[in-house]
């Protein structure tokens, strides 16, 4: 067994152990910390599987944004934690839950173990037409060209999620500053980081979107970095979140899917079918869509994390 194999097995065991610990942890906060560590380990697994694009997304969304979201949920649920822990479900309910989990796990295991070897693959076809699209990264080609319909609908789902979060606001607070009311005094160290990091983060994010055409990266990863910068600034209380009635905010939220849709419908007129790119125009159109999608993702993720407004508009 080579060193690399031993490291891979160690990594797999570590992922399983952290997953088990996350489920077994009694306190919600400990469980969330376990989940974040699990996400970071999982992104290492994706790197080992040579899926760097997935690894970037997993680190940014799976453990980063979701981690912040879960920690704020834990803080809100703290009051109910003790009574909830005191309630123990009955034996029948627990047995049913165990049976359901076993069936799901067995079905997943069967699917993985019964997969044909070598598996069915579309990778050669995906690589064949990269030249016509003008992109070198087959994953970007799948996301923005071959399966662009799925990607567009994903962005629409993100907007639906924001609408869901906002709809939790009470009537009086509708249109107000997003997120809960915060203390007045910014924390020194965090404020310093929030002033220092965004210029760097914006450059890195644009770089990641730009290289996404040929190397791992793209709109989602770049947008997630921009969203992280916005969240640091909001958490350090350097500025208030925007009021959710602002027109520019709403335009930023829908810009990505809207541009995607316009290009898609224009596809009916010129090449002849929905979301088809006219020959020779694929690369500029892909860049246009990616730019607006980055903007929308950068606006959507912070809005999801900071939550509904809890004070009326001024």
């Amino acid at each position: 067994m080579s060193v690399i194999q031993a490291l891979d097995i160690g990594l797999a065991l570590l992922v399983l152990a952290v997953a088990g610990w996350t489920i077994a942890a009694r306190e919600a906060f400990a469980s969330v910390v376990g989940y974040v560590a699990y996400g970071l380990l999982l992104s290492l697994v994706w790197v080992r599987l040579f899926a760097v694009d997935v690894a970037l997304t997993e680190a940014a969304i799976g453990s980063g944004v979701t981690g912040v979201l879960l920690i704020s949920a834990v803080v809100r649920l703290r009051k109910t934690e003790a009574p909830a822990a005191a309630e123990r479900p009955g034996v029948v309910l627990r047995a049913l839950a165990a049976a359901l989990c076993t069936v799901v796990a067995a079905a997943l295991a069967a699917v993985v173990l019964l997969m044909p070897d070598p598996g069915a693959t579309l990778a050669p076809e995906a690589g064949q037409h990269l030249g016509e699209l003008g992109v070198g990264n087959p994953i970007t080609a799948v996301l923005i060209a071959y399966r662009s319909f799925d990607t567009m609908l994903e962005k629409v789902v993100l907007i639906l999620a924001v609408i869901g979060v906002w709809s939790l606001a009470s009537d009086g607070n509708w249109g107000g500053v997003a997120g809960p009311r915060r203390g007045a005094r910014p924390e020194g160290a965090l404020a310093f980081l929030a002033q220092l990091l965004p210029p760097l983060g914006i450059v890195v994010a644009i770089h990641i979107v730009w290289v996404g055409a040929n190397e791992p990266g793209g709109a989602f990863q770049g947008g997630a970095i921009l969203a992280a910068m916005a969240l640091i600034v909001l958490m350090a209380r350097l500025t208030e979140a925007p009021e959710i009635r602002r027109r520019w905010l709403r335009l930023a939220l829908i810009a990505g899917p809207a541009v995607f849709l316009v290009v898609g419908i224009a596809g009916f007129a010129i090449p002849g079918s929905f979301l088809a790119y006219p020959a020779g125009w694929a690369k500029p159109l892909i860049l246009l869509i990616e730019a607006f999608m980055t903007l929308s993702i950068a606006a959507t993720l912070p809005m999801l994390v900071i939550g509904p407004p809890d004070r009326p508009p001024s």
Binding site: A189, L190, L193, L196, L197, L200
Partner: protein, 97 residues
């Protein structure tokens, strides 16, 4: 020349790993949160610094080397800030026990 560079890389990365180990031992063994924080942040910054130093000669060109240094600087910045924030939160909760 190549062998000398490889030996330098191995020595520097091993030294970095020792610092990570020391930080982890400190995290597990030190008596209170402040000393645990101290062990973790100091040792990890040095440990990562040595690993980056060891990887520099192996980097693909100047740009790759600069990226490695940038990773180290950003981790230092984040680590130092988070250590300050945790220490602040601990101080607000009361004296260390």
């Amino acid at each position: 020349m190549n062998v000398a560079i490889d030996i330098f890389t191995i020595v520097a990365i091993s030294a970095g790993a020792v610092f990570f180990m020391a930080g982890t031992v400190g995290l597990l063994r030190f008596p209170d949160s402040f000393t645990r924080l101290h062990a973790l942040t100091k040792a990890d910054n040095l440990g990562l610094g040595l690993i980056v130093l060891g990887l520099l000669p192996q980097a693909s060109g100047l740009l790759g080397a600069l990226k490695l240094v940038a990773v180290w600087v950003l981790v230092q910045l984040a680590g130092a800030t988070v250590a300050q924030l945790i220490a602040h939160a601990l101080r607000r909760k009361g004296p260390p026990t």
